[in-house]
């Protein structure tokens, strides 16, 4: 597919996604993690909006609106309600302490920028740096799911991973047809509802969302 979005804009979007993922690692407050997710999703929505203008596609615009609704309004709304309802102010505990987390993030970023991943940039050599940043964002999001003990943080980690993949796809010029993107959005929407309901039920039963304390799900 022909690259229509300016490389500079893609780079900024990639950087925002990358930085928000790191920020999610650094902060402890669950509510702040949700806000950073909103910032990250807003960047992705902006990317889509830009794409719809460049491509002069009303359908893409409609998809953008829908994605905005799901990622910036509905999903955070669910999470904030969950936090409020269950008073989950400081549930974002992690396995590694802060310095170790930072070291791990550094190593992951170094790996993403190493020669091993360099051949991947042949997809779109113009946006080499952005592609590598997006890969790093993906891996760090995955690391967030591994490192965080709280179920809520893990859910946001999954969504952040999805945002990083979208960012990578845009940078690589792998945008899909609007119909498919609509399907993906619907998929995420359903996933968020199920996950939120499930987390809510788990909290009611165990009075915690710390996954280390949920190894025996017999209640």
């Amino acid at each position: 597919m022909e690259q229509l979005i300016a490389p500079q804009f893609l780079f900024i979007a990639g950087i925002v996604v990358f930085l928000t993922v790191i920020a999610m690692h650094l902060i402890k407050k669950s509510i702040s993690v949700v806000y950073f997710y909103v910032i990250q999703s807003s960047m992705i929505s902006l990317l889509l909006l830009y794409s719809s203008f460049v491509r002069h596609s009303f359908f893409v615009l409609a998809v953008t609106m829908l994605i905005t609704a799901v990622k910036i309004i509905i999903a955070p709304g669910f999470f904030l309600r969950l936090i409020k309802k269950n008073e989950l102010k400081f549930s974002a505990s992690s396995y590694l302490n802060m310095p170790m987390t930072l070291i791990a993030i550094t190593i992951i970023t170094a790996i993403a920028r190493s020669r091993f991943f360099h051949p991947l940039t042949v997809i779109n050599p113009t946006n080499e740096s952005t592609l590598l940043i997006s890969i790093a964002a993906m891996l760090i999001s995955l690391f967030m799911i591994i490192n965080r003990k709280g179920a809520l943080s893990q859910m946001i980690g999954v969504l952040s991973l999805e945002n990083s993949i979208v960012s990578f796809a845009f940078t690589a010029g792998l945008e899909q047809k609007p119909g498919l993107e609509l399907g993906i959005t619907f998929d995420i929407f359903v996933w968020i509802i199920i996950a939120t309901v499930f987390v809510s039920m788990v909290y009611k039963k165990f009075k915690t969302l710390d996954v280390t304390e949920m190894s025996r799900l017999k209640g």
């Binding site: 396995y95 091993f116 991947l120 891996l139 799911i145 591994i146 490192n147 996954v211 190894s215």
Partner: protein, 679 residues
């Protein structure tokens, strides 16, 4: 007249109707039984017609049904080899179905007759499809149908915990075997790009020698597990006895032969230029299976378990023929390879016939005495004379006594092995020597074993209340046993004709094509080509008849003036009772002692005294002789322990922590990405 293909399709339709109808009438035991077995018999009769037309009228067919999956095709082919196996399956299934009509009655109101009919018909259909499937994926589907149907038949008498245990063991072992089979097919697919047997056969040149060797090992373990070769036979002695007797007859007589069918199909038809070591391995495994099978049979007290062990023995004998074929092919002696293959195929047919007869005889006895323990039989010849007579014929056939069929095929196997001993290759020569020695031993021990079984079961006095009140079985049981008895004699006397028909099957195989006629018949005498031996089965029958007639005449002549006086049996002052009889344990004890290195017997003696304080006068003395399953002790137990140990370590990986699982994904992802990039 209907073509072979039409007959075959009708057979499958009848079996399908039999299956579904049995379930539909499950609330009425008698209707369900008659429905299931009638349609099974009708389906088998059409199967027999289809096979006969292919074998004798050269009506070979192949057809394919469309499938939505690109690599799967419901492809059938009935060539001579398939037709031979369809013939064996249909023949035995026809007779077991007739037998089943009477035999199943004793399950009424105890078990679900509808499900028995359903799985029984599905089982027969599964076997017919296995030997006609022409696509590896389709083959795996029908193989699984056959396996699952037989599994449900094994656990049919589900009130017995032992049967459930036997079923589980069978289920696990057979699926381990299937895993090996899948791997073998995948390797063939990798080399030829197709799952179609015909394509694989035509592209066999693309398969590297190493791949062929790996396929051999995988297929040998996979199909060998189904065939019950040692050491993969562990399921067989417990699963076959657990099933109803007419199903045991099918499983032991026919189902295990599907493994043999695939050995022949893959090693002699699909893969050309087989190396010598394949044949050597088969000869050695065949020797071990035949010898150990008969040794364990000797020490068994459960009549069906004993017969199941004899199946292992006979599969060993078939492997000797098959191993000889492979070795001769590798040595470039194709004419001898055909003789050896005829021996293997002939023994496949013969074993199916006499083993079905013996299982039916055993079933007849069990249905009247309600026990499988031969120590509790005795004196049944007076109460069940027909069953005794038919069982005797089966015993003589399995003991390879002329003029019955077992003798003919074992004689041919011996000739192949003797020819192999003259081989120029030293390793082959010694393998043939070992195999011939093993077969000689096996023959002798089998005869001893059946002297024990027949003597302890039918002769002397009844040793239990139930045995003393037994009565002859119903007409359907007697008819099927009678037909099988006649067949053991017919296949024995007309061995030359059968061998000629089988030479046609052998020569049709890819590896042995155009090797010349191996066995000839002259006035119904059997002569093997090139070599040494000939035997006239009708001559033997005639000789035996003359000897018997002359003996009877001489005895009558000598005793014509003597008076017959009936007196009291010399009894040493005590009344003759079952206690004075030799038991099965006592009979086999001396042989078990000779082979104690292998059988590792343990003896437990219990004595009960009239007066426990004085301990001078024993009331009862019991000797309990048990043997050790060495393959369980030295092969399966260590594997079992290892698996448990490894499982405990692996369990730690499955911690129940989501983070850990995502970490595994993360690591694998990184490795894949890095390895992908490096590549």
């Amino acid at each position: 007249m209907l073509t072979s293909q039409t007959n075959f399709i009708i057979a499958l339709i009848f079996l399908a109707i039999g299956s579904i109808g049995s379930l539909a009438f499950r609330k009425k035991d008698s209707i369900s039984n008659i429905w299931g077995n009638t349609f099974a018999a009708a389906g088998s009769a059409f199967g027999l017609l289809a096979a006969a037309r292919t074998l004798f009228l050269n009506d070979i067919f192949s057809f394919s049904l469309p499938s939505t999956f690109p690599i799967l095709s419901f492809s059938f082919k009935m060539d001579y080899l398939s037709a031979f196996f369809v013939f064996v399956i249909s023949l035995i299934a026809l007779l077991t179905s007739v037998y089943g009509m009477g035999y199943v009655k004793h399950y009424y109101r105890k078990y679900d007759i509808g499900s028995l009919g359903f799985f029984y018909n599905a089982f027969i259909a599964g076997m017919l499809l296995v030997v006609t499937a022409n696509n590896a994926l389709f083959f795996l589907i029908v193989w699984e149908i056959m396996t699952l149907a037989s599994y449900f038949l094994v656990i049919f008498e589900r009130n017995e915990p032992k049967n459930i245990e036997a079923g589980s063991l069978y289920f696990i072992m057979t699926h381990i075997g299937t895993a090996f089979i899948i791997l073998a097919f995948l390797l063939l697919y990798k080399s030829t790009g197709s799952f179609d047997f015909e394509v694989i056969k035509n592209s066999a040149g693309l398969i590297s020698p190493l791949t062929k060797d790996i396929v051999f090992v995988l297929a040998f373990i996979g199909f060998g597990t189904k065939a019950g070769i040692i050491p993969f036979h562990i399921w067989l002695p417990s699963a076959h006895p657990a099933a109803p007797s007419h199903v045991s007859a099918l499983m032991s007589g026919v189902m295990i032969k599907t493994g043999i069918y695939m050995f022949i199909r893959i090693f002699l038809d699909i893969l050309p230029n087989t190396p010598l070591w394949w044949g050597i391995i088969m000869l050695l495994v065949g020797s071990i299976s035949s010898l150990l099978g008969v040794l364990y049979a000797l020490s068994a007290h459960d009549i069906k378990k004993l017969l199941a062990y004899h199946s292992i023995e006979n599969i060993g004998i078939i492997l000797l023929g098959l191993g000889s074929t492979l070795a001769f092919t590798a040595l470039g002696l194709n004419s001898l390879a055909i003789v050896a293959l005829i021996a293997a195929l002939f023994h496949t047919l013969n074993h199916a016939v006499f083993k079905a007869l013996l299982f039916m005889g055993a079933g007849s006895v069990i249905s009247k005495t309600h026990t499988r323990n031969i120590e509790e039989y005795g004196g049944l010849i007076k109460l069940m004379p027909y069953t005794a007579f038919f069982f005797l014929i089966g015993s003589m056939a399995i003991s390879a006594l002329p003029p019955f069929n077992g003798f003919a095929s074992e004689w041919l196997t011996f000739q192949s092995l003797f020819a192999g001993i003259q081989s120029s290759n030293m390793i082959a020569e010694w393998s043939f020597v070992i195999a011939a020695g093993s077969l000689a031993f096996t023959g002798g021990l089998a005869a001893a074993c059946f002297v024990k079984v027949f003597g302890v079961t039918f002769l002397a006095r009844s040793r239990s209340e139930e045995a003393s009140h037994a009565s002859e079985s119903s007409i359907s049981l007697k008819v099927s046993m009678a037909i099988l008895s006649i067949l053991t004699l017919v296949f024995g006397v007309l061995a030359g004709t059968v061998a000629t028909s089988l030479s046609k099957v052998s020569e049709s195989l890819n590896t042995l094509k155009g090797s010349g006629v191996a066995a000839t018949i002259q006035n119904l005498s059997m002569t093997t080509q090139n070599v040494f031996a000939s035997v006239s089965m009708p001559g033997i029958l005639l000789g035996l008849l003359i000897i018997i007639t002359v003996t009877v005449l001489i005895v009558n002549f000598i005793s014509r003036k003597q008076k017959e006086i009936t007196g009291i049996t010399w009894d040493c002052g005590t009344k003759p009772s079952p206690r004075a009889e030799i038991t099965a344990t006592g009979f086999s004890r001396s042989i078990v002692t000779i082979f104690r290195g292998i059988l590792q017997p343990t003896k437990q003696t219990d004595i009960e005294y009239h007066d426990a304080n004085s301990r001078y006068f024993p009331k009862t003395r019991t000797v309990n002789l048990e043997t050790t399953d060495i393959y369980k002790k030295y092969f399966y137990s260590p594997i079992h322990k290892l698996i448990i140990k490894v499982s405990q370590y692996v369990k730690k990986v499955q911690s129940g922590n989501v983070n850990a699982y995502v970490l595994y994904i993360f690591i694998v992802l990184i490795i894949l990405l890095i390895s992908g990039v490096i590549k």
